[in-house]
Subunit: 420 residues, 2 copies
């Protein structure tokens, strides 16, 4: 980024931090519990937007995912997203598609825009038909009640939650020579699928002007090392969706010809995704720890990623974290079955306290050239007893690296997920 | 198999059920606990044997695995296996290789056979040097004390255990026109790696006369649908090994030219492997349920296997089993991310009581052509509340199938594995 640009992360009210975006979060009792919980969110921009999206790689996809793929092909500009929580509208057959389409039609009509310009997302139980009588009320109220205040943005971020314990928002300002750009986002629950509750959803808005394919490329890159580099339980849902809308309200055009601005915006978009992704892991179901896994010196990025994922998804590794056990044997066992190239006597492994910790954050060596430095064992234990720490693995056979965030596995997770 | 052949599974004392095989299980206190636990086993045949073996696919392998690969290349006949539990001799560097080689040399000398004709296995903690002073005593005692009684076979099967709660043995007799063949085996702990405890080990002996490459082919086939078709926690260890020794004592030659005998022997070898594999899952760490996953009608066997493994290794599926929850949404979500071809509206899914149950074992439909038969929900619940049941998934798009055995995930598993 050039010296006349800088980015700043600020306290966030979510999507209404971005000029030209309205939002709302209302209650229509999707869950039929009569508890007044917010469960329908609308995001809307009167300015037409470029839209980009990344969806789940699951072969079984929910009806709204199918509809969104169609809508993104059908029209070039979009105006917003209608979202419900409490029901995933997944594995719901032809009725599910019809219901998603009706949600889209109602929201578009209420906002006076073309039907395919509204995207649709659902999250919650799989295999139950949507309660459309109540959903219709929700969409009507969400359209009527939309606005640009912080409260509107915060309500929307709450209406999309399922088993999350808190709302997740992020806002970054990019200062450029031409003026300010804002990027803001909100997200819910990753890889922490409560009994039948699905899904990671993230919605990002910006007032920059960006051509659609350029936006899609930037989103794909940002997601790769943020939302796609975290794990709680290794399960991937039928509804996972990240959508970004760019309404051009600030009249600053981001495109590849202005290398510096393009790089600066990409970095800021990645920052918003990373903040949201980190909030998702930290709010993983019944976790007690978040562990950063940094693989370096791998023969390829694919190798580095495979090792990080094998470590972060191993039940034995995750339970050892929960037990404050610096069990490097389990880490190296998982690394070994990742299918990546490893040479035992080149491996350096270290534990490092999280950088936000108040005291020393020096790494403490565990293996040096494959040999265990057992004299450090008392230090390993103090580090892995923390709520956050880093595992640094250098394979010393190449120059590729990968960063991954993972959570531990607790008895409470099993208890929480065992019951209907 | 022709009508003059049949196989029979009988109560097993392990490898000493096979004529010409001696065994022993002795205590040398590998763990330094002074508890008299059996921890060194020897299997020996004075008749030279054809040997075949299948090892872990883990990139990080223990020293004995490296040594065995070398020994199998170096000589054409083998005489036995020396095994210790309590220490895996994994991630132990040059000293580990030297120690494994010394175990081999001592056992071979004590039995008066060529050094590379003895194979070596270790199972237990990773990353600690073997206590060779005690191991040497163990090998000496094992060689002196070896014999052909049932007690010898049973002791050997106990000496190889780590966190297993019981010994696992299987014996199958094959009656042929030329006479009887015996195949017997013993095994320990699969995918249930206690704090640093590694590994699935299985040892099989037969008195048939079989050329080495033919034996290797039959073993590879048998392992594929037995030991490699089970999971407890999805982790794969650095030491996993299956070894079969054929000493030719009964003077019946099994080779591909006698199609019927070859098929009969293959089937019996598979039966021994399957009995042992099933015992391994049933003794998985802190499990309460064993679930058979039968995938049918898949586009390819790879697809069928990928779906079965995704289901059997999903934390959300495993915790739902533990909670007696007939949660088909989680099953289909896992099936969806397996990377296999699925067409939602062709899928038939059913729960079926285990065939050994006394009462009805009729399957109860869950999905028919993708539609949930919720009127059966009370029946689903009675089935998944059992200790054993089957999940039948027919994709109805091809003719490939796969069978997989998996265990549930319990709070006790997490508690058991969290501590050092």
């Amino acid at each position: 980024m050039s010296s006349d640009q800088h980015t700043q992360s600020v306290e966030s009210a979510g999507l209404t931090d971005v000029p030209g975006f309205q939002a709302s979060g209302v209650s229509c009792d999707v869950r039929d519990l009569g508890d007044g919980r917010l469960d329908v969110a609308l995001v809307f921009s009167r300015h037409p937007c470029s839209a980009a999206a990344v969806f789940t790689t699951n072969e079984v996809v929910a009806a709204p995912v199918t509809l969104n793929r169609e809508s993104l092909q059908k029209v070039d500009v979009h105006h917003g997203v209608i979202v419900n929580s409490g029901n995933a509208n997944a594995w719901t057959g032809a009725q599910g598609i019809a219901d998603a389409r009706e949600m889209q039609a109602m929201a578009a009509a209420a906002c006076d825009v073309a039907q395919p310009s509204i995207l649709v997302c659902s999250t919650g139980r799989i295999g139950l038909p949507l309660p459309m009588l109540r959903i219709r009320n929700g969409i009507r109220d969400a359209a009527t009640g939309k606005g640009t205040s912080s409260e509107h943005g915060i309500n929307a971020s709450q209406a999309i939650l399922t088993t999350d314990s808190n709302a997740k928002r992020a806002t970054v300002h990019v200062t450029t020579a031409q003026g300010d750009i804002t990027i803001a986002g909100m997200a819910k629950g990753a890889g922490m699928i409560h009994p039948d509750m699905a899904t990671m959803l993230a919605f990002i808005a910006t007032d920059a002007k960006i051509e659609r394919s350029c936006l899609q490329d930037m989103l794909r890159n940002a997601v790769k090392t943020s939302f796609n580099a975290i794990t709680v339980d290794g399960d991937r849902s039928t509804n996972d969706t990240v959508i970004v809308l760019a309404n051009g309200h600030c009249e600053i055009t981001v495109d590849p010809t202005d290398t510096s601005l393009h790089a600066g915006f990409s970095q800021a978009l990645h920052q918003v995704c990373s903040i949201l992704a980190e909030k998702l892991v930290c709010d993983g179901e019944k976790i007690t720890k978040v562990v950063e896994i940094l693989i370096e010196g791998a023969a390829s990025e694919a190798d580095a990623e495979a090792i990080a994922r094998a470590m972060g998804n191993s039940l034995l590794v995750k339970t050892s974290w929960y037990g404050n056990d610096p069990n490097w044997g389990r880490l190296m066992d998982a690394a070994g079955y990742a299918g990546a190239r490893i040479e035992e006597f080149k491996v350096d492994l270290a534990y490092k306290p999280h950088s936000a910790s108040s005291d020393s954050t020096q790494p403490v060596a565990v293996l040096r050239s494959g040999n265990a430095l057992t004299e450090n064992e008392h230090l390993w234990k103090t580090i892995v007893a923390r709520e956050r720490f880093t595992i640094l693995l250098n394979l010393n056979i190449g120059s590729s690296s990968y960063r991954f965030l993972a959570a531990d596995l607790t008895e409470e997770y099993v208890d929480f997920n065992k019951s209907e």
